[in-house]
Amino acid sequence: MAVSERTTGTPQPIGFSRSTMGVVGMVLRWVALFVAVVLFLIPFYLILRNALSTEQDITAPDWTLFPSHLQWSNISELFNDTTVPMARALYNSAVVAILGTGGQLLLASMAGYGLARIPYRHADKVFYAIVATLMIPGAVTFIPSFIVVSSLGWVSSLRGLIIPTLFSGFAAFLFRQYFLGFPRELEEAARVDGAGYFGVFWRIVVPNSLPFFAAIAAITFIGNWNSFLWPLVIGQDSSSWTIQVAMSTFITAQTINIHELFMAVAVSILPLVLIFAFLQRYLIQGVTQSGIKD
């Protein structure tokens, strides 16, 4: 992986050496690291504490470090609350994140492969037309996109939530760069055996690029699951709310059950925490690859 334990054993990459900086410097660095860890974990502690507390424990004037007893019934209370369509919102988010990620990967990888490998007279013009969209800041386009989507009659529908987000010029660009570096010998061997572009792509290129697909997929899935502005614009009816829109509506509502809301937060981050637990190396690779544009 890009971020590995490579430096262990090599000279200190930052230039600090233990003998000259001395014990004081080392202690200071460990203290800084420890303080940072505590600060970064506090919000997660608050999620768990509040999600499993009673309202009285949370609003008590003296801070209770942990709830006196774990209030697991908050889960059923959340899903039985008729004022918030929690199950529906989770379902919508799952559909949006899964179909959105799958669709974007399919479209961008095929486009990237075509641009990288299939000779065509106007390929560079097509490529520039795609790259030009990277200049347009994403969030600014929500008003223009809303105009088109509402004209199609897709407001408050899953179509409206998913389809406009599928065509990422940046993803197509990343795939093109990746396929340009894909070993041609592998493809030529298959070509000799009589495979066409389609066969080579699906039988040779994709199976040999799974780590790259996983990296882009992890990043895209998280982005889709956590996306807020577009679902807020499109989800004008509560049946089309994603989990983010549902929680946001919950915050701005006047009557708030804090424990219920934090249980919603805990449930909403669960899929992503699982991704972090099992796919972190792909995720880190995805960040490194998509963060720095060439």
Partner: protein
């Protein structure tokens, strides 16, 4: 694309030549077809959902369009003039500027500091990296909710006020106090918590690309470990990463919406451009004419700033 009929009419062409020429023509036509099979669906989508919206919005920005996406009454540049003289829109740009002044340098310095700290520990490095990266799993809605209801909620049972209470300081209404502008503390810290880990990963990757021989050479040349080595070896070597972090960060700050919307709502003292544009184009009156003009003005500003930044830092020559 190709015109194969011509070859057969030429008597000078031998059968063999005709055969290869036909095959080559077929090959080119095949390539064109396959190119569009691969790229076509994407390009069609891009035309409908990227190019069409921009064009439509451009047209609409010259028209009056209340509660409709159909241009009705041509008003020339009036929407643009209105937006550029709109006190609220201008003050939203001011809000953004203050936000950027806080968030860009802080994110840069702190994510670099975290990367340096994590990179130099020898034990449990993966653990530390994961802890700082984990907030990336949370959405802005989730983080805003924690900040608003449990840390900076302004009453006694909020964590910030609890901690201040230990030192005998009175409760502070973090999100609604305008003088002094305490609301910046939750607004800035929530974004720091969410994005520091992301930029830290970029910096760690940058640090690990620096060749150890550079450090060895610096030692041989007598550079003092610590600040000198950092200043003359590490920082220049991180140039490409630093530029990327600054640009990504500034563009993201321009498009701030989620945490402002969820923490303070559509209030005039802390309203970035996107929240204002959302309010006028999708609020009670859907004023898509002014909304389109404002969105295009904002897009042009962001593009100009990005280009300016690229010029200042010379992106492209950096070769990362």
């Amino acid at each position: 694309m190709s015109a194969p009929a011509k070859t057969s009419a030429d008597p000078a062409v031998t059968g063999e030549q005709r055969e290869t020429r036909k095959r080559r023509h077929k090959g080119i036509a095949g390539n064109t077809l396959w190119f569009w099979v691969f790229v076509g669906p994407f390009v069609i989508g891009l035309l409908i959902f990227s190019y069409l919206p921009i064009l439509w919005s451009l047209v609409l920005s010259f028209f009056e369009a209340y509660n409709t996406a159909t241009p009705s009454k041509f008003v020339g540049l009036r929407n643009y003039v209105d937006m550029l003289t709109d006190h609220n829109f201008l003050s939203s740009l001011g809000t953004f500027t203050i936000f950027a002044v806080f968030i860009v340098p802080l994110t840069f310095a702190l994510s670099l500091a975290l990367a340096l700290l994590v990179n130099q520990v020898k034990i449990a490095r993966a653990f530390f990296r994961s802890v700082f990266f984990l907030p990336t799993a949370c959405s802005y809605v989730v983080a805003s909710l924690i900040w608003k209801l449990s840390i900076f909620n302004g009453v006694r049972f909020g964590l910030a006020n609890t901690v201040l209470g230990w030192f005998g300081i009175d409760n502070i209404a973090w999100l609604s106090t305008v003088d002094p502008p305490w609301y910046w503390i939750p607004l800035v810290t929530v974004r720091l918590w969410l994005q520091l880990g992301f930029y830290m990963i970029l910096f760690i990757a940058g640090l690990q690309r620096i060749s150890p021989t550079l450090y060895e050479a610096a030692y041989v040349d007598g550079a003092k470990p610590g600040w000198q080595v950092f200043r003359y070896i590490t920082l220049p070597q991180l140039r490409a990463t630093s530029v990327a972090v600054l640009i990504l960060n500034l563009i993201a700050a321009y498009q701030a919406f989620d945490e402002f919307y969820n923490l303070v709502g559509n209030v005039n003292y802390a309203r970035p451009p996107l929240v204002y544009l959302y309010g006028i184009s999708l609020g009670s009156i859907q004023d898509l004419g002014h909304g389109s003009a404002g969105a295009l003005i904002l897009a042009v500003i962001i593009m100009l700033v990005t280009l300016l930044q690229n010029r200042i830092f010379g992106l492209g020559k950096a070769g990362d």
